[in-house]
């Protein structure tokens, strides 16, 4: 019923709060958590001006992604069963595909990721995409 949580993270503070919320839900429901980190593919992502600095070279992106995943995994209670998924692609669509592919019961994610300059007022584009394209419940954490 609520047994498998998809937890997309990106190293933002907001994502860390989502990790804490997913932990609570996992404990309450006895659910398994799959942590997903998507390394943005700059060739497909449509990078807008001023964001170039956020796209790391491939050699740097993967170790950083693994760091973020390990940090998030450590933040989850030891009793919570976890899995880790590191993928590359367009972030929003990769999350959407993952959500549809692996019989998840719900998603926990932050309202905005690394990309939002206007924090608090904007709903991040990735979160918005996920809300508009997935069929399972999404717990959105500010």
């Amino acid at each position: 019923m609520m047994k498998h949580i998809l937890l997309p993270i990106d190293g933002s503070e907001c994502a860390l709060r989502a990790v804490a919320a997913a932990n609570e839900m996992a404990l309450a429901f006895g659910a398994k958590v799959t942590l997903l980190y998507v390394i943005p593919d700059p060739r497909k992502e449509g990078v807008i001006q001023g964001q170039e600095a956020m796209i790391l070279s491939e050699s740097k992106a993967a170790p950083l992604a693994r760091q973020h995943l390990e940090k998030a995994q450590k933040a989850l209670d030891a009793s919570v069963q976890t899995a880790i998924s590191l993928q590359k692609g367009v972030v929003s669509r990769t999350i959407e595909k993952e959500a549809a592919s692996n019989d998840y019961d719900f998603i926990v994610m932050g309202t905005e990721g690394m990309g939002s300059a206007l924090k608090r007022l904007l709903l991040g584009s990735v979160t918005r995409h996920v809300l508009e394209h997935v069929k399972i419940p999404v717990l959105v954490i500010r």
């Binding site: 919320a21 007022l121 717990l139």
Partner: protein
């Protein structure tokens, strides 16, 4: 928040997505015995001014007593369908939907909102995030569980 949420707001408007939010809230109440508030905001004509709902422009500025009573009776029925009806509060308000939801959250202090991704006003289902849901997501500090 010992393994769950304690005070949950469920904005309801009779749409399919809000029915799914209701079902989800029941699951959550079963797991964590949460206090639930079922909120229905009846939009009146003033709605059209702060949200562009053109289909509502010609509506009267107040909700007629009959639909008010019907909504109240419906909410009380829904309340009875919860696992712990004694821990469900029914709240009926009138006004602009999105800002009334936010005011209720600010006033009552919830730790979770469970709501549908779009309400009754939507033609382009599935691809649009409803304006009310979007407004809530952008204006609250608490977690929001969105059901599509």
């Amino acid at each position: 928040m010992a393994g769950g949420y304690e005070k949950i707001l469920v904005p309801y408007d009779g749409s399919e997505a809000s029915e799914r939010a209701l079902a989800q809230a029941k699951v959550l109440q079963e797991i964590c015995a949460a206090q639930i508030t079922l909120l229905e905001v009846l939009p009146n004509g003033l709605e059209a001014r702060d949200q562009v709902n053109y289909h509502m422009l010609d509506r009267p500025r107040t909700v007629d007593p009959a639909s008010y009573r019907a909504a109240e009776a419906n909410l009380n029925q829904l309340k009875a369908s919860f696992p712990l009806p004694d821990r469900v509060q029914v709240l009926l308000a009138e006004g602009p939907v999105a800002s009334t939801i936010i005011e209720t959250i600010d006033r009552e202090g919830y730790d979770l909102v469970v709501m549908g991704s779009e309400g009754l006003g939507h033609a382009l289902k599935r691809f649009l995030l409803g304006s009310v849901t979007k407004y809530v997501l952008e204006h609250v500090d608490i977690p929001v569980m969105v059901l599509s």
